[in-house]
Symmetry: C2
Subunit: 401 residues, 2 copies
């Protein structure tokens, strides 16, 4: 019972509802491992905490002795976007696919035991299909079924074109489940439809249909969109500890509970007690720090988590302009006859190695402060006097002496 509860924790959709219990019972009766499938597209191998939500669930199954199968979607990656419209989906060579897969598996090993997992490439069987076998497979599915997929339905209704091969892809994903005889297919909730295809195809091929387990989609640092590399709102599994800490601290408070559930490995009890603290009005920053340290401990180490916290406090949190973190700059080293200088010229003197236009953009974007106040006019004249504090960007603090 405890096992089931832990396995079901955070899962957003299980299809059919009592499927997991049945599959586990089956495995026990037949004294075999369950085959748990996770597909991945070897085109964007940078894994982030969003991917980790699913991977950590896989790890739980792996820890119980079940067989994880990582399915590399090499067939479609090799084809790319045949319409050529999607520039980010260029056809990949076999070498590219292999390289991406290795990068991916390397990152995967931060969460699951990659030695015990089975890695398969679907081009192995899909490349070998004859056209008439393809026709046989396609005949198992109707157009209307495919049109139930949200994005297809929306595009069809809005008259925005759907190329025919796109309809074929979910069917392929389903056929992969037939080939590997998956018991469970895991994915984000955005994979529900495609995973359901697997159930249907397995049934038409007279196999016991897999169950589908969908994990929620973690939101990105912006607190709005799902975490996604293209939206630049991710915490990568291979991010440095300091970066992980800073990014976690930057999430909006509204995201704390989601991060608590989906990114940490606190026990259910610890999570409950943290929730209580939050409801009792603790400063959310303290909770974010605990979450950040927990994340870093998972992907790096506890020591690195401590160090990252110390670094963060020193660099970012001491925005009260504590003396120690400011770099002193002697005024008489700054060549100025009038004792005045435009903001941009001053910034160029202080922080070297930048182009003037980049510096201007930085100022105009509001990233420069004089004595705690943003100044966005790069041509503003600044009086060069002692104790003036200048902050440029997030990390550079200067004080005139």
């Amino acid at each position: 019972m405890e096992t089931i509860n832990r396995l079901k924790e955070n899962v957003e959709i299980i299809l059919p509802q009592n499927g997991l219990e049945e599959k586990l019972e089956q495995a026990k009766q037949e004294n075999r491992k369950l085959i748990i499938k996770l597909g991945f597209d070897p085109t964007a191998p940078d894994l982030h905490l969003g991917h980790a939500v699913v991977l950590k669930k896989l790890k739980q199954f792996q820890d119980l002795g079940h067989q994880i199968v990582i399915l590399v979607g090499s067939f479609t990656a090799r084809i790319g976007d045949p319409t050529g419209k999607n520039k980010s989906r260029k056809p990949l060579s076999a070498d590219n696919v292999q390289h991406n897969a290795e990068t991916y598996l390397n990152q995967l090993s931060k969460i699951i035991d990659i030695e015990k997992a089975k890695i398969v490439f679907n081009s192995e069987w899909l490349d070998a299909l004859s056209f008439s076998e393809v026709i046989q497979i396609l005949s198992k599915v109707t157009v209307a079924q495919l049109m139930h997929r949200n994005d297809f339905n929306k595009r069809f209704t809005e008259n925005s074109p759907i190329a025919m091969h796109e309809l074929v892809y979910p069917i392929l994903q389903g056929f992969d489940s037939v080939r590997i005889k998956a018991d469970i297919e895991m994915g984000g909730t955005d994979q529900l439809f495609n995973c359901t295809m697997g159930r249907q195809l397995q049934e038409t091929f007279e196999l016991n249909p897999q169950i589908v387990m969908c994990m929620p989609l973690l939101k990105g640092l912006d607190g709005k969109e799902k975490m996604s590399k293209s939206l630049n709102n991710i915490i990568g599994l291979t991010d440095e500890p300091n970066e992980m800490f800073g990014k976690t601290m930057s999430i909006p408070d509204s995201l704390i509970e989601e991060f608590l559930d989906l990114t940490t490995d606190f026990s259910i009890e610890e999570k409950r007690s943290i929730r209580e603290e939050l409801s009792e009005g603790i400063n959310p920053m303290h909770i974010k720090k605990r979450i950040a340290k927990n994340i870093i401990t998972q992907y790096h180490s506890e020591t690195e988590a401590q160090n990252a916290e110390a670094f963060f406090i020193n660099q970012f949190q001491n925005k009260n302009f504590e003396q120690k973190s400011f770099r002193p700059v002697l005024i008489n080293k700054i060549e100025s006859v009038s004792g005045m200088m435009t903001l941009i010229d001053l910034c160029m003197k202080l922080k070297q190695g930048q182009t003037k236009s980049a510096m201007r953009r930085l100022i105009e974007s509001g990233a420069v402060q004089i004595n705690l106040e943003k100044v966005t006019d790069s041509s503003k004249n600044i009086e060069l006097k002692a104790d003036t504090k200048i902050k440029i960007g997030k990390r550079d603090f200067y004080e005139l002496k």
Copy 2:
């Protein structure tokens, strides 16, 4: 100009409108033959006058020296109906396909010069396609385009299932045009959509797109539905002369002009003069006879056409029960004590070699007449007296003596 007019005669759709002129001009400039494609499905090899409408148009092109390509749809025939729902579309073996194709070509030779035509089987290239090549081809077409095909649209709207492979078939037909570099694809108007696919695919493969020429669909003997073997309303190209004659005579008057245009090889002038006769009130039967003889002359010979007419007049038209065509039957040879007999028993005596139940059905269907009057009650008592005339079915006439 005369050539163009003759080539355009009876054509219901030419796409694009001025395409034929352009293709002919092109062929002339480049000093080459046009490639004219006709696809056929080697599952139902009984050709009828409906098919002949298209074939005779092909013959006109052949007579002008162009290259006819008969495309045998062996790929899809080999697959059959993969859903198994359509029992009439069982998968065919290579031998079946070959045999059907031969039967078909044999019938075709009644109209076109089969020696000069090129015969190709599309399984030759479709079997050889890899799955990833299939994906490339599918990507050229959108779902919405396919949904414009009338039957798909209707079924989709009515929620009646369309299996995914069905959407693929028109694309295959289009790809066939790419492979054989067709200049013109010919078909019935029901093939307009599929032929248009050929244009589109040729364009995406950077070929000069074929033009589409659709011939009208000839109505069947019932005058309502299109001529089709499954509706049992056909005149087959291999029907015997007498059968052709009888069937032609049986068409409703409303069909005369359509038959005149689409089944005869009268010149435009002859057709015009026949139309005039019709409008001047000639008995339509005379026109039907001329059409029937013209048809038989095309598929058999002029002599056989004459004989068929004579046979028809003798057997069917002399319904005035002229003496000569009745078989005399002596009453005292019919064993009956009472001098009476039920209709069914009498019929069994007269026309032997039938089962009683078949005879009962014949009577009940109205095919038996006593002295020019239908009798449908098989148990009716008939008085056996001299000069009683009995007609059983279409061809058996008896007179009691």
